[in-house]
């Protein structure tokens, strides 16, 4: 597939169009709203499903191949908040606290972006390593720690670290991803068969519904674009591109396949908007949520799922 085909295949997939429909519905002030409980139910389902599938595939992968990607994940998870921080301070001239808060988000990861990347490579007929969900879980944490540490240096009034960390480590996305992975690993591919119609076949459809809701939510954020200024808009697009290319390249070095490094690039490029905000809100209450949420959810998320993923995939094709 050529680059343009890849791009169009992504843009014209049901999940991206559903996302666009959500934004559109919000713009025309439709009363379409997802109940909170439906959002929660869908996210529990998606996280567990992605874990189960990964685990079952992992059960047939030699464990050693996991080591390289694991180290790569930890390295990039510690590096990307620092690169983000310096760009935000030097070029964006943000204050220390807000820069650190945003850095924590860009180092961490958006699970939905990961899922969209998985769905994309599936469409493209390529597969990724079974342990990719484990990398997502691994990537979620260090950046938040590094971000909070940066903020702490030189600040007396320490927020509640322990609570913030627990919020992330025992947060439901980690528990469901790793839990699903463990179950899939234990029962293996054959053991997963009875639940396949539910967790595997239904997956893309449920994801479509979920992205409709993400569109509704993102649109609310778009209204704050003016408040965050042009620099942050640019940051929300350029930073993921740089991190994404870096991720694809490092992923390839660490031994990941074509699909695997495209997905890996995507998660490195993605910015958290669930785990990081909750942790940062507790540990850095002085940071302004409008900045970090609008950047990660209002700019980077839509950029990544529409243009970013096809881009990282193309880069992976070049480097392969």
């Amino acid at each position: 597939m050529g680059t343009v085909d890849i791009l169009l295949a992504n843009l014209f997939s049901p999940i991206i169009l559903a996302f666009v429909l959500g934004i559109f519905a919000s713009l025309i002030r439709s009363d379409l709203r997802f109940p909170d409980e439906l959002y929660t139910a869908l996210s529990i389902y998606l996280l567990l499903a992605i874990g189960l599938k990964g685990g079952a595939e992992l059960s047939e992968t030699p464990f050693l191949t996991f080591l390289g990607p694991m180290l790569a994940t930890l390295a990039l998870g510690s590096l990307t908040p620092i690169t983000s921080y310096f760009v935000l301070r030097r070029i964006g001239a943000l204050d220390r606290i807000n820069a650190a808060a945003i850095a924590a988000h860009y180092g961490s990861v958006s699970v939905v972006t990961f899922i969209a990347a998985q769905a994309f490579i599936d469409l493209a007929g390529v597969t990724g390593e079974g342990f990719l969900p484990a990398l997502v879980a691994l990537l979620e944490i260090p950046a938040i720690i590094v971000g909070l540490m940066i903020a702490q240096i030189g600040s007396r009034e320490a927020g509640s670290w322990k609570k913030a960390l627990h919020e992330v480590l025992a947060g439901r996305s980690i528990v469901l991803l790793l839990g699903g992975l463990a179950i899939g690993l234990v029962v293996g591919k054959s053991g997963l068969e009875p639940v396949e119609p539910f967790f595997v076949n239904g997956f893309q459809g449920a994801l479509t519904l979920f992205l409709l809701e993400m569109g509704l939510v993102t649109a609310r954020r778009l209204r704050d674009l003016r408040k965050v200024g042009l620099f942050l808009v640019g940051f929300g697009i350029v930073m993921p591109i740089l991190h994404g290319i870096l991720g694809v390249w490092v992923g390839g070095l660490a031994g990941l396949s074509l699909g695997g490094s495209a997905v890996f690039g995507t998660i490195v490029a993605s910015a958290s908007y669930i785990a990081a905000p909750a942790a940062v809100r507790i540990a850095l209450p002085e940071a302004n949520p409008t900045f970090y949420l609008t950047a990660s959810l209002g700019i980077t998320f839509p950029f990544n799922i529409t243009l970013g993923i096809p881009l990282y995939f193309t880069v992976a094709q070049w480097l392969a």
């Binding site: 909170d36 507790i282 209450p285």
Partner: protein, 100 residues
């Protein structure tokens, strides 16, 4: 029916604070609490959640002293950076000893 007068203290706060607010009011002397999911807007606006009913309403029935302690604590700790409001009014309660 013999009743006594106590204070009903109501705290409306962004959801991320739920657990620690419960811990803190208990430490300050509340013997129980009631939680309601609410939505709302005020002067501060944005907070760190796009999902889940965004606020919680925490109601505690307490003596005047405890009410004062809770008011002081919440004002000092949360008012600057978080979306939190607090108000209180007297109520008539049956079996008031329960709330000591």
């Amino acid at each position: 029916m013999s009743t006594i007068t106590l204070q009903l203290v109501t705290i409306i706060a962004e959801r991320v604070l739920k657990d620690q607010l419960i811990d803190e009011v208990r430490t300050l002397g509340a013997t129980g609490y009631t939680l309601t999911d609410v939505e709302g807007e005020g002067s501060r606006g944005v907070r760190a959640s796009e999902w889940e009913k965004r606020n919680v309403k925490l109601e505690v029935i307490v003596s005047d002293d405890v009410a004062e302690a809770i008011t002081e604590h919440v004002s000092a700790r949360y008012f600057e950076h978080y979306a939190v409001i607090l108000y209180s009014h007297p109520i008539e309660v049956v079996r008031g000893s329960k709330y000591r």
